[in-house]
Symmetry: C2
Subunit: 376 residues, 2 copies
C-alpha cells in the first residue's frame, strides 16, 4: 500500500537523468518559437489552459532546461540528504525585479533576476542551488522579447551552476503592469562553520569592497537616455558566490557580508553599523570609483556612495585576516580591483563617517529615498 521509501527516491533520481527524446523536443520548441516570432502575450497565456502550457513548455522549460523543472509539477522536490551533505544550514531568500529598461549596457532584467538572488544567498556564505521564477507579464508583450529575457535567465543560471526548478506565470491586462516583472526566490546551503551576520562588526575589523562602485546605476541612467557618456559604463551584474567561496577559503570567519545593491555602499555600511552598534570609518580616497562614473555623478549631482551596484559586495573581516582576504579577492576575476576602504571603530556607535583627501570628516547617513527609482 505504501511505497517503500526507496521507491520514491529512485524515481526522483531517475527523473534527474536526461530524457532521450530531448532533441525532438527542442525541434518542436524551435518550431513553436518560429511561429510565435511576431506574436504577443495575450490574457490566455496566463489562464492555466493550453496557451499557457505551450508558453511554459516551449519557452521556460527549454531555456531553464533541468529535470526538476521539466517534471512540470506545481513544486520542485529535492532529497534532503543531498542538501545535508553540502552543509549544515539552509538559506532562503527572494527578490522581485522591476528594472526599467529591460535591457541595458552589460545586462538585462533576466541577468539581474538570477544574479541578484544568487548574491543574496551568497552573502550568507551559502552555495546557491535552486531558484524559482515568478513572471508577471503585461498583455501585449512581444513573445520574442520575453524569449530573450528568459534565455538570459537560463544562461545566467547555467553559468552560475544553479537550476531554476519551479515557476509561475501570470498575465495582467494592458496598462496593469509595465511589460514584465520577475520574482526569483532562492535556496542555498551554508557550509559548516560559516556564520556571517550584519550584527558581527567589531572595533578593529577591516572593511573591504571587490571593485569600483556605481557602475550599475550609471549604466541604467545611460540606458534611459538621461545621460550620454564618451566611455559608456556597463552594469557590473554578476554572480558573487564563487568570490565569496574564495574569500571563505582564506578567512572562514568573515563577520559581515552584503551586496551593495539599492541604496549603494552607504546603505549597506549603515546597516552594519546599526545592527552591530559600532561605528564605521571610511577612507574616501581608498574607495574605487571609475573616472567615467565620477564624472557622470558630478554632472548629475549624484553621490556614487548611494548608487546601486549588482556585482559588488562589502565585507567586514577581522583585521588580522584583512590582507590575506584582499589578496584572495584580487586574484579572483570578480575582485580584481578590490580594496580595503575603512575600518570598524567604537564611536560614534551606529554611524558611518568618511574622511576625505583633505582630512575632513563627514557623516554618511541613510537617504530617505533613492536617487534613482526602478534600478533593479
Amino acid at each position: 500500500m505504501m511505497p517503500a521509501r526507496n521507491d520514491g527516491q529512485t524515481m526522483n533520481h531517475a527523473a534527474l537523468e536526461q530524457n532521450p527524446s530531448e532533441p525532438l523536443r527542442t525541434a518542436w520548441s524551435n518550431q513553436w518559437l518560429e511561429r510565435m516570432r511576431d506574436q504577443r502575450i495575450s490574457m490566455a497565456h496566463g489562464s492555466g489552459g493550453k496557451a499557457m502550457r505551450e508558453l511554459i513548455e516551449h519557452l521556460f522549460v527549454e531555456a531553464f532546461r533541468n529535470p526538476l523543472l521539466a517534471a512540470l509539477e506545481d513544486q520542485a522536490v529535492v532529497p534532503l540528504d543531498d542538501l545535508r551533505r553540502q552543509g549544515g544550514r539552509l538559506a532562503f531568500t527572494t527578490d522581485s525585479y522591476v528594472v526599467n529598461p529591460l535591457f541595458f549596457p552589460g545586462g538585462s532584467i533576466g541577468d539581474l533576476a538570477v544574479h541578484g538572488t544568487i548574491n543574496d544567498l551568497a552573502m550568507s556564505g551559502a552555495k546557491p542551488l535552486f531558484l524559482s521564477c515568478g513572471m508577471i507579464l503585461e498583455e501585449g508583450l512581444q513573445i520574442d522579447l520575453l524569449r530573450q529575457v528568459v534565455q538570459r535567465m537560463g544562461e545566467a543560471a547555467s553559468h552560475a551552476g544553479v537550476s531554476i526548478v519551479t515557476g509561475d506565470t501570470k498575465v495582467v491586462e494592458r496598462g496593469a503592469a509595465d511589460k514584465l516583472f520577475i520574482n526569483t526566490a532562492g535556496i542555498g546551503i551554508i557550509p559548516h562553520g560559516v556564520w556571517i551576520a550584519a550584527t558581527r562588526a567589531r572595533p578593529g575589523d577591516a572593511i573591504l569592497i571587490n571593485g569600483p562602485i556605481g557602475d550599475h546605476g550609471i549604466a541604467i541612467l545611460t540606458a534611459r537616455n538621461e545621460l550620454a557618456l564618451e566611455c559608456p559604463v556597463e552594469s557590473d551584474t554578476r554572480p558573487l558566490h564563487d568570490l565569496v567561496q574564495a574569500m571563505l577559503d582564506v578567512c572562514p570567519d568573515i563577520h559581515c557580508l552584503r551586496d551593495a545593491t539599492r541604496g549603494g555602499l552607504a546603505t549597506v555600511l549603515n546597516e552594519f553599523a546599526q545592527a552591530s552598534a559600532a561605528a564605521i570609518h571610511l577612507n574616501e580616497s581608498a574607495i574605487p570609483v571609475r573616472e567615467s562614473v565620477r564624472g557622470a555623478c558630478e554632472i548629475l549631482g549624484l553621490d556614487p556612495l548611494y548608487l546601486a551596484n549588482e556585482g559588488k559586495l562589502v565585507a567586514v573581516v577581522p583585521q588580522a585576516h584583512a590582507e590575506a582576504t584582499l589578496e584572495a579577492m584580487n586574484r579572483h576575476p570578480a575582485g580584481q580591483d578590490s580594496a580595503i576602504i575603512g575600518e570598524v571603530t567604537e564611536t560614534p556607535a551606529g554611524a558611518v563617517v568618511m574622511r576625505n583627501a583633505f582630512g575632513g570628516l563627514r557623516v554618511v547617513d541613510l537617504l530617505i529615498g533613492d536617487q534613482l527609482p526602478r534600478i533593479c
Copy 2:
C-alpha cells in the same frame, strides 16, 4: 579564527527566542501606522533607504512576526537538521498573485498569497514551513490598504502554522502596476514514504474532490460587480495541508494530488490524464456544485468545470482506499462535502470524458485560455 560549528547554531537558536523589547516595539509600530494612516506609497518606499526600512520594520515585520524575519538579513537561515527530522525531501514552489479586486467575498489577495503557496506545497504531501514574500507596489497606493493586505497575510500564515521568513519590496511609478502584486515562494518537507506525482494515475483508481467547485470564480465575478446574486458566494480560499495530512493518514499511497485553481477541475484532470497517459471518466451528477454557482454559470454561459477554486483539491487514489479516504475527508472541516467523482480507465488515453445524467458522454478538453482573467 573560525567559530566552532555550535557557535553559529547557538546564535541561530538564540535568535529564535522572543525579544524582550517586543511590546515597546509594537507600540512604536502602532504610532508609525497611526501617522501613516492617510499616507500613500511613494517611490522612496522602494529605495533601500530610510523610508523603505520604516515600512518593512513597522508593517511587514510586525504583521509577520517571527524571529527569522526579524533578523532583517537578506536571507533566512534554517538548520538542516531541523528539517531532516521532519522528512526526507524538500518541496519548493512559487506563485505570483495579481487578483483583481484585492478584496472579495471570503478573502483577499493576502489570503490567496499565503494559502495558494501552502497548497502547492501540500499537494506534494509536504508539511509547509516557510514562505517568502515579494511585494510590487504602485506609487500612490494607500498605506492603510497595504496594511490590511499584509495583516491578512500574517493572520493566514499564523493560522496555517507557517512563517513568512524573508521578503522584498519594490515600488514602481503610478500606472506601471495595478495597485499591488504579491509573490510568495514556499518551502516544505515531504514525510518519508510519500510519493505523489501527476504521472501516477492508474486504471481503476478513484478520483475524489473535497467539496463544491467554482466558488472562488463566482466570488470574484460578484466582487467585480459583473453579477448580482441573491445568495452571495464566498471564495473557498483556505489552506489544505491539514486535510492532506488526514488523507495520508488513511491512504499513504495517494497517487496524484493537485489543487484546482486557475483552469479549474477540468484542467487538473487533463494534466493527470496526459502525464499518466491514462483516461479519466467523470460522473457529472457526482460533482458537487452549489445551486447559486450553477445558476450564475447558466446566466453567464460559464462552465463550473473550468472555474477557479482556491480551496479544492483533486486526488487520485487506489480504488481499494477510495472509501476510507472519502470518509477521512468528510470528517475534516476542509472536506465536509467531499465526493468520489470518477475513475481512471485505460482509454481514451490522455483524455477526460464525462457522462451526464442522461448517459451521454462528452470530452472535457483543456481550454485555450480562461473564462476569467486575474482570478488569483
